[in-house]
Amino acid sequence: MLNNKTMGTTVQNDTLKTMQKTAAQRKISGSEALMMALVAEGVDTIFGYPGGAIMPVYDALYDYRDKLNHILVRHEQGAGHAAEGYARISGKVGVCLVTSGPGATNLITPIADALMDSVPMVCIVGQVAKALLGTDAFQEADIMGMTMPITKWNYQVTSADEIPEIIAKAFYIAKSGRPGPVLIDVTKNAQFEQLTNEFINVKCNSVRGYRPKSNYTYEQVEKAAELINAAKKPFLFIGQGILISKAENEVRELVEKTGIPVASTLHGLSAFPASHPQYVGMLGMHGNYGPNLLTNEADVIIAIGMRFDDRVTGDLKRYAKQAKVIHIEVDPAEIDKNVKTAVSINADAKEALQVLLPLVRKNDHSQWHAKFNECYQQEIEKVIQNEIYPTQGGMRMGEVINMISEKSKGQAALVADVGQHQMMAARYYKFAHTNSFISSGGLGTMGFALPAAFGAKVAAPEREVIAVIGDGCFQMTIQELGTIAQNKLPVKIVILNNNFLGMVRQWQEMFFDNRYSFVELQNPDFIKISEGFGVKAKKITEREELDSAVEEMLASEVPYLLEVVVEKEANVFPMVATGASVDEVRLQ
């Protein structure tokens, strides 16, 4: 293979000529160049769905089946979420491949989801030939225009020669800095055309004007350390940035070295062991009581790799006003966006923590910890006890999750959909392994979990992957059972069936006077559907069956669906109602 340097000076003129000749003889199409570029980026899996405008690429893929494992989904949305699941569990870039027009528009939801949740993803999308652009040709859609606000970067390739460089750039942008989705729109002529020269394996390590690297001074870190060392009631918040930068050990060191209590955002879950004595729980609307309440008592808040989403802060005007906030964050646009900082460090979490660690010292925060414990005792009494060890009524979502947590010893990866079941999964699974909570947080996309779960399983076959899905969500991407069956992906699927769009029902109960407006579902027979797709399934309705059913599910070596019929009208608590302050968190 030619490389730029040898092309430059050392190669004799005639050698170069023969090389170019053989290149011309090899006649590499844009499609094959795309395959080679993907392989060069270390891609091993593609989630996709073929169609007219991407057929040359699928034809090239036929010769690359041994290098690129293509998983045929049942809907392009499934491809997108599967790529997200793949990326979230592994930190690698998820790749999807779809056709133009409807194939591309079906990807819009997962792309928006990936931007919100900082998921590295490269979407390769077919497009009509360059000559037909703008003519309303069959299956032409302005996907560039449509995805501009929801991609980190997008680009339309109109000639084969651009492919190697653009693909390298796409992967670099998707995974560097704050990760995000990149869309590459490839016109059909670029797929067919031959490259003018031989394929050159380009590596992209920088893009002019794009500066994903840390940008802070040592003085800022010193100032942060001073605040931390002097704090009486310091409180550490960790977000997904910890997982992305693989800073779990550094966070643990910081926590143990300083004695500070630590809470996690929804996406930060599993970055810190839930059983650790200094772990006080989850922040946010349905987070734990203490972390919400005491946010408004802390004197110093250290927030790392999180973005103060409104579901975390509640009413911003009454959020942590008494606290000096230290924000460590890789995306400069997040700093001072929602919460004004006393010290900001625009840096990758791991890097910043490594600089910070030697500067902090241990303090006694036992009284401060005692406050968290007090709050936790109240929460146990008023909420948790009845949720995980109920003595009457139908099964509770919390008890199901708790059972799964115990039986899997906190080692499984949970992929939760969106709704009450999601909050219950986040609250009651005791994460003991990193990268183990995958859910749609920013966009709250119902239907995320089933495809994301098999995507995660493909990336981490050695992990136990359990999808926790509501009866409503399940019916948004239920067809992906077909993908799971065809590819024999042994994910475990738990349907928490309350016959309701439960989360919406809870809001209608609490804030709309019990007026249940279109939230009750007449559900199909999930077991028959599952079996129809070839996925083993079981339904339980009684508490006595739960223990053995979970065991059976976990023991299964094939994909397995467990439907658990739960209490219809149970609510998720604690809760910080919309517009309320975090210290108005309600236990009931």
């Binding site: 970067w153 893009v207 004007g209 940008n215 646009a333 966006k337």
Partner: protein
């Protein structure tokens, strides 16, 4: 407090970039007062000058979001005190009555406007200046009968001594970002 901010954006000259930048404003319901785009003296690098009315906090957030766009080399915002800026206007004035020609030409000379074009019936005058200058000249011409009036968006440079090319060439813009923002 809301006031006018001029945001200067240096970018790669890519298709679609205008759209990528404007959606940052529309999404936050910020109206663009004026927008000028042209290639800089350096081939392949464009300069956008965008004028918006907003709070200082919002101007900073807009700049941060603009800087996130991959093709943006650098962006910064300044209020009027820290910018040198100008606009150009063209006035199409009625001269069907030839007696009016002399007073119009005199007025133009007094106010530093230039006759660009003339034919029986109308003349076109050109003037540069701030929007206030341009509008007060508009008021003076109005009694003569204005057939058409157009003014450009603002173009602006900041009052720092940093050469612009150093800004968008630098690998590490850290120091400049701190000076500029």
């Amino acid at each position: 407090m809301e006031k006018l901010y001029t945001i200067s954006v240096f970018t790669e000259n890519n298709i679609g970039l205008l759209n990528r930048l404007t959606i940052i404003f529309t999404r936050r319901r910020i109206n663009i007062e004026s927008l000028t785009v042209s290639e800089t003296e350096k081939k392949g690098i464009s300069r956008f000058t965008i004028v918006v009315k907003c709070t200082e906090d919002m101007s900073r957030k807009l700049v941060q979001q603009i800087n996130k766009v991959i093709e943006v080399l650098i962006a910064y915002a300044y209020d009027a005190d820290n910018m040198i800026f100008s606009e150009v206007a063209i006035y199409k004035v009625n001269i069907e009555d030839p007696a009016k020609l002399t007073p119009i030409i005199n007025l133009a000379n007094e106010h530093g406007a230039r006759v660009m074009y003339m034919e029986p019936g109308f003349t076109a005058l050109e003037k540069t200046g701030t929007i206030e200058d341009l509008m007060s000249f508009y008021d003076l011409l109005k009694p003569f009968g204005l057939l058409e009036f157009v003014h450009s968006g603002r173009i602006a440079i900041h009052k720092q001594r940093i050469p612009a090319h150093e800004l968008y060439h630098a690998e590490e813009l850290t120091e400049y970002e701190q000076v500029l923002n």
